[in-house]
Symmetry: C4
Subunit: 283 residues, 4 copies
């Protein structure tokens, strides 16, 4: 039950496109992200969602991010909700979206927590849960039972420990992730030098792309956007996780080729997503 996602494996996961695609086919994605001073995390995840092929990308962000998001990404529709301008709260009905990603730069305000708890109860289709949404889940473990099956968690090592408690080493981390994925029927993307996608059926897929230049702020936000876009395009969670992690790393490798590992940014990575998809298509 150990696998590697290399180019051949990733290519096999990719959907073909037909001429008669329309916006519905590419799907409607929503990112719930951002808080005062961390609106960039929302921008990066929405940007990655666009570049990973979502048909319509929307963002639910705090009011303090309104002009920022609309200026940065004209393709993204913006909703703001809640009386506090600095955080997201009071989610509107979100039934129109094919996929929801939540967490980048979100903050942990109790109003945000309350709204997220409410969303988790109502959601049926799988979500992508990242960053502060992981941290809030860790603090509200009762949510785990209510979470849509096959949701995807994307913790870095510290976030993972918040979720499951202290972990002694890499080996134990993987074991605990398998346990967690099985118990809650979810996908755990354990981010690290060799990111592991841990499935609810016990499979572990090690990614083969990526480089140290990705160990920078915004890299995880980009991954959340990619995974949400893939879910919106009707990839199942396991495929979305394996393919998304592969593409994220491949785009990072292309960014490193262009600007070097030291200088490359999350935006550079996002701008290479198109070429990462094309490499798979044409190789």
């Amino acid at each position: 039950s150990w696998f590697y996602t290399d180019a051949a494996a990733a290519r096999a996961l990719l959907q073909p496109r037909t001429r008669f695609s329309h916006k519905g086919n590419f799907g409607r994605a929503l990112l719930i992200a951002g808080s005062y001073g961390k609106i960039g995390a929302a921008v990066l995840s929405a940007h990655a969602c666009l570049r990973a092929g979502a048909g319509l990308t929307s963002a639910l962000i705090p009011q303090c991010g309104y002009k920022i998001m609309q200026t940065a990404l004209p393709e993204v529709m913006v909703m703001t909700a809640g009386s506090n301008k600095k955080i997201v709260s009071d989610f509107p009905p979100l039934g129109a979206y094919d996929a929801i990603g939540v967490g980048p730069g979100l903050g942990k305000d109790f109003k945000t927590a309350k709204a997220l708890g409410g969303l988790i109860e109502k959601m049926i289709s799988p979500m992508v849960i990242d960053a502060d949404a992981i941290n809030l889940t860790a603090e509200n473990q009762a949510w785990l039972a209510k979470l849509p099956r096959q949701s995807i968690f994307t913790p870095h090592p510290k976030e993972f420990e918040r979720l499951v408690g202290p972990v002694a080493n890499d080996y134990e981390r993987l074991a605990r992730a398998k346990e967690f994925a099985q118990r809650y029927q979810c996908v755990i993307v354990l981010k690290g030098a060799y990111t592991a996608v841990v499935l609810w059926n016990g499979e572990v897929h090690f990614n083969t792309t990526g480089n140290p230049g990705m160990a920078k702020g915004g890299s995880g936000d980009a991954l959340t956007g990619i995974l949400t876009a893939l879910l919106a395009q009707e990839y199942d969670s396991a495929t979305a996780a394996k393919l998304g992690v592969y593409l994220h790393g491949a785009a990072g490798d292309l960014a490193a080729q262009h600007n070097g590992m030291i200088a490359m940014t999350a935006t550079d990575l996002i701008e290479q997503l198109g070429h990462a998809f094309e490499q798979l298509n044409h190789a």
Copy 2:
């Protein structure tokens, strides 16, 4: 009365440029677009209008879009009007413009509807009517008789049904579009996998450019900007529709060559408009 707009047909439609062009020649275009959270639609249509060659591009947008538009597109002049900051209403006198495009991201507030109704009564030269301006027209069918002759509607299938009622299949859709175009002496651009330009004289021109990667948010906004720019440059409505739809698709094909169908965005398409024009000029 069935035609195809291929490269040769499109090239024949293109105006030559002379050295003594001045701003007046390229024309004055106005986009009326945007509402809270959908200012990006206004930005995309104005951006496409610039890149499709309008001499002066102005935008009438809600106040909540002021800084966004001025930051994104320094070449565009901005007007805001109305007491509600989130929508466009209370149109100022618009006689100075050679062409007006209305609809992208506009919303359907009753104040917007009232202002649009007033505009339609006053306008003499053809307009481009897209998105929510189509939806509002569908709800105010009395406007149709007052609409400037040879205006261009750009509905996607659902918008078209709002305008004419339920349609059983592609064949009926075309028949109804011909009927509608003839009755109201307008042009219908039926957007889809093979976009059809339906003229008031019964001609149907199928477009030969474009790809599934264009089935994403913002693509239609770009088309509205292109058509408005062509009207401003004194193309007649039929020519503007055929040529504009062709260029939109050709730019989309160039964008797909650069970034792939999955990753390409409406902004990518817009940035390729220059090369799409050049391909026609030089081929």
Copy 3:
């Protein structure tokens, strides 16, 4: 007294650079520009000023343009003044600047007029006077006697007629420009298909660069920025006008090569200024 500014003539005007240049050498330029809805004109002129080599570029703009300018051009320092947020008024002391360009998108509010009149009385070194600053001068002809000698006016044909009254044809326009330049000891840049630089000594220099694709909004704003930057770098007014008009056209020609005459924008032109300078240096 008729000349052509071709590549050889322009090259002869260009200053050499020495290693020991410092910010002082490149000079301090100020643009006074913009009003509500026309902040883009201020952005374009400041952008062109940067790209034409000013050491420090500042902008005096209305408060409604503050975030727009600072977001668009981090290299530009911004001042806002006056109680009305939509216009520029109440100029602060401006003695620290080596060159001032005024007019793009400025509007004609009487408070702006009053402030401009005050500036003209105090200024000693030549200014660049464009757009609404020309229109305001036309309405306040008493300013002309007080204007710093060797200032540069950059009227398009209509603005020129506002300044000197109706003109029957191109021949009369040139004659009147020579008269005006001599009387007020200034430079007139008569913008048109073949822009003419008319000097106070009776010389007329016809420019040989440029193309119809430049006949679009923002093109004149860019020229103002270029001329201001050249004055700041201690070019005399006659040289700045001849060289600046040449470079503006050459950059426009490069922009047309890249994006075509139809699609090219003022920003495209500005982004080619570096290559226009390099062409002169290396040809």
Copy 4:
């Protein structure tokens, strides 16, 4: 004790990267910068900090810069503090940062001065002190004794004279810099045509990269960002100063190759930092 930092010397200073880098390794950098009208200085320094490889870049800026910074650089986290919207004051606890750079566009308000004085007392690890932070230090010489050892000052000639008093010539400037560096156990980067890095041990390292096109607004802000990023990546101060000054000049040389010395901007330089690093790695 006179050295030259050429490509070979700079290459020897560069750290290798290992696969197991994570955000912690690249370090957490903070820029304290900006004031009303000079937010661009904060943007440029944060941009350079990103491109010089900091793992996480944060900016403490005045409230009037919030949207500007978040729009320009989504990778940067923003903090605003203080009741005056136009300046930075009332620094929050800053213990979480591996390196702090302070000064670009900061202004000299007494509240900013007070906050900076407080920061200097508390800081243990070396800081980068630039622009108005140098000017404020010059006016508060008591800070010098409390400054973290091995901090880096980056004065241009006038700022240096404010710090140490009038200087007759280049020779005296260097002598005084050596004295100052030794007394306060700091690094002085004397900016000029041949920038000199003066260490506390008496060594002087002359830089061999750079060109007159860098003598423009924003160039120094970029250097501050680079130095802060290198400190965050655990370069010691002497190495950071020598390597950072070298890379700054090398990126400027690449920018000049692309856009020419006249047209190149600080942003152009920053965008070449990746290639400057790569040149060292691969040469």
